[in-house]
């Protein structure tokens, strides 16, 4: 152990933006200086973005609950601080101890999504840890990743010693136990990695053989001796076993989602065919109403937050959501505390719930019809009809909402220009329906924000084989959409299509992209998820230097049956199910939600030996 870095860091703080990112000392931070195993958990973005991450909060609590184990947090220093650290020779440190990350036993890194890949290299470099796993020895921490982007880990795999696929509550304990045991027995680096590979859900990239597959993508061909050929995701059978952390760290800074959070359920089986989260977090597991209310109140008490978010992929689907909202509203009356719901379905029930939590405050409502025509909504299995949407906004207008935000996507399979124009006409009907319902003197205040993203085909979804829309075609479709969009009362915005393009390349690429990531980082790529820092030109140069044509790779239609870069990673959903869903998409046939109706045969429950867990019977529109 070296001397604490605080003194050196302190000297840099007067010269950087927002020093509160770097000072630690928050309420709820856990310090365990006398531990023989030290883990640093990194979110690969700034403090204010990373502190909103629930996985980090959960794993921080889980690891710190183990005897002899200290878990700390780390984030990627903003450009000004990183430059100052390099100039002063200050390495990346763990927030709680101000000890270098380099001296920790484990460096755990969340992979939230593809645009943070360059920041992982930035963090490793700032920590003074060799970028590639093959260059590391037992003098370095074990670099282990986790999170949603591990479901296609290949582009980033060479930078990791190991990756955990799936949920971490139970797996982290086993990983630390296996690592400690191997470390204390004096194992070699390879011996440690082999021990870790025995933990269910752990993928050690260096133990697999690879070769070039179709379309130039590198695929895994063979597992090393004693290593499982397929890595199956970890899943917690009942999330009620692990209450939501009661006393998470309370940031001083104004962070993204600055509030307490209670996870009310995990998984969503609505089955939208573009949605990776809907496939990789199966099956649906609810907490009971009693547990949710208990956790929410405990967390508010311990943190002092004035807002509690009931988080999940589809909170209003919870079988006891109305009971939960009523009980929380009663208990929080007079405390100036609000309850928030992350997203709403386009149905009347959801509006009623939004009304309970809004209590007369006029926050906007957000709804996601995703496509402009019924045919295309059936293709993507978004079970929302035009009637649903119109009656929902009417209901919302009656309840006092004048602002609605609508999410749409372009670049969906089978999409025609008529489908694109359908977005414009649907938005027109929404605006008209809302104007109709509000009093004449307030018609001018009706606002519909329309946010349009480009489809990024993701692994483990029925659209994983689909080509990505070429950038020129995205631009053409945007023109069609703009021309069809009503002007009055509508605010139209786009996701940056360059960003989606790169996201798609990493979502479906193989290990050949590791060189691209490294090239781009060497030429200055960091904080790519921040609009002002993103530079597609820099990434194009990085692709060119690696001899890969990104436009060609993005436009590839992958073939069912051929080995894909992520074929050795299983989320439990079978390829057969994905292919059936793909066929049904082409035929514009829908699939129901198994948490409302009968099993639809995705095989996740059978493969993973788990079951749907509900607090009661689900009801609502389906």
């Amino acid at each position: 152990m070296t001397d604490s870095l605080w003194g050196q860091v302190e000297r840099l703080l007067p010269g950087v933006e927002r020093p509160a990112r770097y000072i630690d000392a928050e309420w709820g931070a856990i310090r365990k200086p006398e531990c023989d195993y030290r883990a640093v958990l990194l979110y690969p973005d700034t403090y204010e973005v990373g502190m909103a991450n629930q996985a980090l909060t959960i794993l921080y609590e889980r690891l710190n609950s183990i005897d002899g184990v200290a878990a700390e947090r780390a984030f990627v220093p903003w450009v000004d601080m990183a430059d100052a650290m390099r100039a002063a020779g200050v390495p990346l440190w763990g927030l709680e101890s101000f000890e270098p990350v380099r001296t920790a036993d484990m460096f755990g890194i969340t992979l939230p999504y593809e645009l943070t890949h360059s920041n992982i290299l930035e963090a490793l470099d700032l920590a003074g840890i060799p970028l590639r796993a093959t260059e590391r020895t037992n003098e370095h921490p074990l670099v282990i990743g986790g999170g949603p982007a591990t479901f296609n880990p290949e582009p980033i795999a060479p930078f990791f010693d190991a990756l955990l696929i799936g949920e971490g509550e139970e797996a982290v304990t086993e990983i630390v136990a296996a690592h400690r045991q191997a470390r204390d027995a004096g194992s070699t680096r390879e011996g440690i990695l082999r021990a870790l590979a025995q933990v269910l859900g752990v993928y050690v990239p260096s133990l697999y053989e690879t070769s070039q597959g179709a379309g130039g993508r590198i695929v895994v061909t063979e597992a090393g001796e004693g290593v499982s050929a397929t890595v199956e995701k970890r899943v917690v059978p009942d999330i009620g076993t692990y209450p939501t952390p009661e006393c998470p760290v309370v940031p001083f800074m104004d962070v993204v989602h600055d509030r307490a959070t209670t996870e009310v359920l995990r998984g969503c089986t609505r089955g939208c065919r573009f949605c990776q989260a809907g496939m990789i977090y199966r099956p649906v597991r609810e907490r009971t109403a009693d547990d949710v209310v208990r956790d929410a109140l405990a967390s508010l008490r311990c943190t002092g937050h004035n807002e509690i978010s009931l988080s999940s992929l589809s909170t209003t689907d919870h079988s006891q959501i109305e009971e939960i909202l009523r009980r929380l509203a009663n208990r929080l009356d007079g405390t100036a505390t609000t309850v928030s719901l992350p997203s709403l379905r386009a149905d009347a029930l959801s509006v009623d719930m939004a009304r309970i939590v809004a209590r007369g405050r006029s926050r906007g409502l957000t709804l996601a019809p995703e496509a402009g025509s019924q045919r295309l909504r059936d293709v993507i299995n978004k079970n929302v009809t035009e009637e649903d949407l119109i009656s929902t906004v009417e209901h919302a207008s009656d309840a006092g909402w004048h602002r609605v935000k609508l999410y749409f996507m372009i670049g969906l399979p089978t999409e025609t220009d008529d489908d694109i124009r359908g977005i414009g006409s649907l938005v027109g009907k929404v605006v008209a329906a809302m104007r109709e319902r509000v009093s004449p003197d307030r018609r001018g205040s009706v606002r519909v924000s329309v946010s349009v993203a480009t489809l990024v085909p993701k692994s483990h979804t029925p659209f994983q084989w689909e080509p990505q829309l070429p950038l020129a075609e995205v631009e053409r479709k945007q023109v069609v959409l703009r021309e069809s969009m009503p002007r009055k009362g509508v605010e139209l915005s786009w996701h940056d299509s360059d960003v989606s393009f790169l996201e798609g390349l990493f979502a479906r690429g193989g290990r050949e992209l590791a060189d691209v990531i490294e090239n781009a980082w060497h030429s200055g790529a960091r904080f790519d998820a921040w609009g002002e820092r993103f530079d597609l030109g820099r990434w194009r140069d990085a692709f060119a230097a690696a001899g890969i044509d990104p436009d060609e790779q993005a436009a590839q239609c992958l073939q069912p049956g051929e080995q894909l870069p992520w074929s050795h990673i299983s989320c439990g959903v079978s390829e057969k199910y994905l292919l059936d869903e793909r066929d049904k998409a082409t035929a514009a046939e829908t699939t129901p939600d198994c948490s409302f109706e009968a099993c639809t045969g995705c095989d996740a429950c059978q493969d993973l030996d788990v079951d749907i867990v509900l607090g009661g019977e689900r009801r609502g529109s389906r």
Partner: protein, 229 residues
């Protein structure tokens, strides 16, 4: 004041690492402390009720404070000492409460009443002496005014008005500590570090500020200055 509300004034410190917090970050942290402390805080009326509180003059990012103030309204009377005890249990290290007492509802707000800040600035520099620093500062003060550029705007501070007491520099081992009493105005106040750097520059001295602390925040009245508590 709504009937049945009680205005409690709390004196607190902003110390050590937490000196790097902004005023907004401090006020939010204190409100959260109140919520954790399980005290009967009052809430504002209106569409978005909030915890009812008001804060004294802002401290810049990087400046520590030894006696800062905020007022929080209670919906029920609980002895101030008891609230102080609950606060101590719920406060992150570095923002600890120093003192608390109920004050009259009729008093003006802290931000309007507190017009005097007493600062201590620590300077380090090779072969720099307190006498040199004192002479340099006296030279600037003798000029009568100081121009400050901030965010593209130029402000002129009249030093006779901004500095109601004499500036004093003293040696403490390797450090030189300078104390300033600064009158804060509604259009912004002179920052002690500005004065220090202007003085060092004009005397061609080299030195760096290592720490700035507002040691006291005072109310100016006829015949003198007093603490808000």
């Amino acid at each position: 004041m709504a009937a049945g509300e009680f205005r409690l004034r709390i004196c607190y410190g902003k110390k050590d690492r937490l000196r790097f917090l902004s005023h907004l970050e401090v006020s939010r942290a204190l409100e959260r402390t109140a919520r954790r402390a399980d005290i009967p805080y009052a809430v504002t009326k209106g569409f978005t009720p909030r915890l009812k509180a008001a804060f004294g003059p802002a401290l810049p990012v990087g400046t520590a404070g030894e006696r800062e103030y905020w007022d929080i309204w209670m919906s029920r009377y609980i002895p101030a000492e008891e609230i102080l005890g609950r606060f101590e249990q719920a406060t992150p290290q570095g923002l600890e409460p120093v003192d608390a007492a109920y004050v009259s509802e009729g008093l003006p707000s802290l931000s309007a009443a507190c017009t005097i800040g007493v600062y201590e600035v620590v300077i380090e520099g090779e072969r720099l002496t307190a006498e040199q620093v004192q002479d340099a500062l006296d030279g600037v003060v003798a000029d009568g005014e100081i121009k400050v550029e901030r965010k593209g705007k130029t402000k002129v501070f009249d030093l006779a008005s901004s500095l109601p007491k004499e500036v004093q520099a003293r040696s403490y081992g390797q450090e030189i500590r300078v104390s300033f009493t600064i009158r804060m105005g509604p259009q912004g106040s002179l920052r002690p570090e500005t004065l220090v750097y202007v003085a060092l520059d004009s005397a061609e001295l080299s030195g760096a500020i290592t720490c700035i602390t507002r040691t006291d925040t005072l109310i100016e009245e006829e015949g003198g200055m007093r603490r808000p508590l």
